[in-house]
């Protein structure tokens, strides 16, 4: 971490942050080696005031005293504990000290919800291989943001334990995790030295023939210890009197710096997992970090790089600033996507089974990870992103049984709802074209079987389901599409916490007939007025619980109420709704979704 810091040549700006780590920063950052560094301009206006204030709090000549490793470790513990205490005011976590496969680990768990039982993160902390400067501060926000348990490996440190001891310790913990977790449910990440150990661990996993984890986070890291990038010259590093070469030499011991298990950039990167690189404009590892992700991209590995302008090395682990929050959010989002996990999505999806909607039974609501999907009537298997899939039945009158499904992508929802109709005499939910393409495009999707089921495409012209069932003919004629659109809008609002901004319907043949039949119902009088087809109306209903004006006010009331629920789940709107249930039009609706 930030045991090194950089300053501008005028020594106006100096390191890091938090009150108590000031001491550490001063102690660990000598002014030697600054002589040949070029002058830096003042921090640009885009840097937040918080970051600016903390960076300039450390003005004055730094303490260039050489420190022993023992002194540095003591300072780091003190600084990290203080920083983590600040973080924990914002990010609720519990921390335990355990031993895994003989290696001490620090486990950071979210405390406001049950940690995801299937997925886990493995952290390798920073600190120049010689101290632990981040097993707390790099992980507290991540555990809270992702809802995942973070296992921080407290690997044995250099210089007493040179390469490959730290990697061995990390590998032992990874092997232990593999006994509980599937590799596609594990992500590895680290900051600074930890973002050197991360790529090394992956190279070792591949060399040992173990399954590769789902993702790698390289946050101000390096995979080429033999060469110095441009940024290392621009922003000189120093830790307790050691420069970068000293630190790398102490870590490598007698091993050559170009061997691929130490510097993976010299090895085969093709089997590396999708990687997120984060660095910053005044990071001495800016070059090294971006070089790695660039090379991964060349090798066709999915690699994304985020660079924060102007900020110093590994700033998120010691600056209490909006930029740090943003960095942690980017990390968390990456892990959620790669591990196919959306914080709380499973729970938010599952709770939809308890949605109270008019004439509707939700039979299933579950979060389904990304993967192949196949159903009858489809051309072939389709790859779909992770989604919340709700199945249910609507029965507006006795004998009526409209089956529907609503699919909602767990992440990166584009704010749209896509409806898909049915050709011919219908009789099956339209998966493709339909729900599959909706979520592939990032939208929510809805489709019905139009109120009856047929067994095979060969039965497409079989109308015997209509015999003696006028209610099914009505469902086929217009009700299924209309009612499912209303239900889908309510479910979307409840799941995402905001209504769909746009609703579209595309279908052919009988599906075109459905569209031209349904638009009148959706926009006409006597039916719930819910934003549909088109432009967004106001974000929330004008009247969450209208006075009864007709026999139809029941569905209007309840759907609007549920919608309000989705919009402002934890707000007074819910209490308002609860109290409004005394009004006649809502009396039998209950509380739509317990939250």
């Amino acid at each position: 971490m930030c045991v090194q810091k950089q300053f501008d040549r005028n020594k106006k700006v100096r390191i890091a942050l938090l009150a108590s780590s000031l001491i550490l920063a001063k102690a660990l950052c000598p002014q030697t080696a600054l002589a040949q560094a070029p002058a830096l301009p003042p921090l640009p206006d885009s840097v937040s005031e918080q970051a600016r204030a903390q960076l300039s709090a450390l003005t004055g000549a730094p303490n260039g005293t050489r420190l022993t490793v023992v002194q540095m470790r003591a300072f780091a513990d003190q600084a990290q504990t203080a920083m983590a205490a600040e973080q924990r005011k914002k990010y609720a976590v519990t921390i335990t000290e355990e031993v895994m496969a003989g290696v001490p680990v620090r486990i950071v768990s979210p405390s406001e919800r049950a940690p995801d039982a299937k997925r886990v993160l493995l952290n390798l902390h920073g600190g120049g291989f010689q101290i632990d400067s981040g097993s707390l501060t790099e992980n507290v926000p991540i555990a809270a943001l992702t809802g995942l348990r973070v296992v921080a490996v407290r690997y044995r440190l250099a210089p007493e334990n040179p390469f490959p001891v730290a990697v061995n310790d990390a590998l032992a913990v990874y092997r232990a995790l593999l006994r509980t977790y599937r590799p596609e449910h594990i992500a590895v990440y680290g900051t600074s030295a930890g973002a050197i150990l991360g790529p090394e661990l992956i190279a070792r996993i591949i060399a040992d023939g173990l399954p590769v984890p789902a993702a790698l986070g390289v946050f101000s890291g390096d995979a080429d210890l033999a060469r110095r990038g441009d940024s290392a010259g621009l922003f000189p590093f120093s830790m307790g009197g050691q420069d970068l070469s000293d630190v790398y030499a102490a870590y490598a011991g007698k091993q050559g710096l170009t061997q691929p298990l130490i510097s993976p950039i010299y090895g085969d990167l093709k089997r590396f997992p999708p990687t997120l690189c984060i660095t910053s404009g005044r990071d001495f590892l800016l070059s090294a970090t971006t070089n790695l992700c660039r090379k991964l991209g060349v090798e066709a590995v999915q690699a994304q790089t985020i660079v924060f302008d102007a900020l110093p090395h590994a700033f998120w682990s010691y600056l209490a600033a909006p930029e740090s929050d943003e960095a942690f959010k980017s990390m968390a989002k990456f892990f959620a996507q790669r591990l196919q996990q959306d914080p709380g999505a499973s729970a938010r999806c599952a709770v939809l089974t308890r949605a109270m909607l008019p004439d509707t039974t939700i039979t299933s609501a579950r979060a389904v990870p990304a993967g192949p999907f196949i159903a009858p009537f489809m051309l072939g298997e389709a790859q779909v992103p992770a989604s919340c899939r709700v199945e249910g039945r609507i029965s507006p009158e006795p004998g009526s049984d409209i089956r529907f499904e609503v699919w909602m992508p767990l992440s990166d929802w584009n704010g749209r709802l896509y409806g898909a109709g049915n050709g011919g005499f219908a009789g099956a939910i339209s998966y493709s074209p339909g729900l599959v393409e909706a979520i592939q495009r990032g939208g929510a999707g809805v489709s019905t079987d139009a109120g009856h089921a047929i067994g095979s495409p060969a039965a497409a012209e079989d109308g015997s389901w209509a015999q003696g069932h006028p209610e099914r003919i009505k469902d086929y004629g217009y009700r299924a599409v209309h009612l499912s659109a209303l239900i889908a809008k309510a479910l979307v609002a409840a799941f995402y916490g905001e209504p769909a901004q746009r609703a579209y319907f595309a279908s052919c043949s009988n599906g075109g007939r459905q569209a031209l039949r349904a638009h009148r119902l959706t926009t006409g009088p006597g039916w719930p007025r819910i934003s549909s087809g088109t432009r967004r109306r106001s974000g929330r209903p004008e009247r969450p619980c209208p006075q009864p004006t007709s026999r139809r006010s029941k569905p209007r009331c309840s759907i609007h109420a549920l919608w309000a629920m989705g919009v402002r789940r934890h707000s007074s709107a819910i209490r308002g709704y609860a109290s409004s249930t005394r009004r006649p039009c809502c009396a039998n609706m209950g509380t739509p979704i317990p939250v």
Partner: protein, 275 residues
């Protein structure tokens, strides 16, 4: 085309000519009043996939019934409760009014008053393949005209477009440019110039109406309709918002979309083909 020297594969018998005329004319009452449009000559009656052209929809395959007959039979047998007849005996003078009065209120989608939908900013894109053997293309044109009459041409132009697509059959397939995002848009990046679904989104969200579209031909009709990027980028045609037609800028017969431009015809295509 009437056979002059006996029945051969290159001519039609008098009975066949009469049948064709009836298919072109559509169902009519005994006094000749039209009930529903017929199916026009498209040059693509045979289609590209067996059973998807007139062969499956209009002409009965050996030992079976045409799809048109199957749907009509099912409606008569299972939907209509006030009629007791079948396809063979259906009388357009006597039975059609009964049939219509019972089922039209539940099934028909012919209401042309889109004013409420329009007032909420709704946009509607219709398309129809000229070689559709299942639903007559003229019926969609009639609906388009009815909406324009109901809302006024200018109001309708703000929210309605129709694309009539030559050589395309029912929903997908056919020898024409059969792939233009008609079912759904593929995952991003979206291309509103090639993709009807993306064009609708751009119209709704950015206010840019689709007046032209470059459609492609797909050898696999269903795959092409699901994802236009699977279609052949070298076989393209320009689709023009009705009533405009794609007209060759220079000379030639199998040029790409870029060789065409959209022109308002002196007479609508439907008129020129005799409707």
């Amino acid at each position: 085309m009437l056979c002059k020297h006996g029945d051969t594969d290159s001519c039609l018998t008098a009975v066949q000519v009469t049948a064709l005329q009836k298919i072109y004319a559509g169902p009519r009452t005994s006094t000749g009043q039209g009930i529903y449009p017929g199916f026009p000559a498209s040059g693509a009656e045979a289609g590209t996939v067996p059973g998807m052209g007139w062969d499956g929809w209009i002409f009965a395959p050996a030992g079976g019934a045409a799809n048109q007959t199957k749907y009509a039979a099912a409606l008569l047998a299972h939907f209509a409760t006030q009629l007791h007849t079948d396809v063979e005996h259906f009388d357009f003078d006597r039975d059609y009014p009964v049939f219509k009065s019972e089922l039209a209120p539940v099934l028909d989608a012919v209401d042309a008053d889109l004013s409420r939908f329009a007032a909420r900013g709704g946009k509607l894109i219709l398309w129809h393949g000229w070689a559709d053997p299942a639903l007559p293309p003229q019926h969609t044109i009639d609906y388009f005209d009815a909406v324009r009459a109901a809302l006024g041409t200018e109001n309708a132009a703000r929210m309605l477009r129709l694309f009539m697509v030559p050589g395309v059959q029912h929903c997908f397939g056919g020898p024409g440019a059969n792939s233009f995002g008609q079912f759904t848009a593929p995952p991003p990046p979206a291309d509103p110039h090639a993709d009807l679904s993306a064009a609708l989104e751009r119209w709704v969200e950015e206010g840019v109406p689709p007046d032209e579209l470059v459609a492609r031909h797909a050898t696999s009709p269903l795959l092409g309709a699901l994802d236009w990027r699977q279609a052949d980028p070298h076989q393209t045609r320009l689709l023009c918002a009705y009533p405009k037609n794609a007209v060759l800028k220079g000379k030639g017969s199998s040029a790409p979309a870029s060789s065409y431009r959209c022109v308002t015809p002196a007479r609508p295509f439907a008129e020129r083909i005799g409707r």
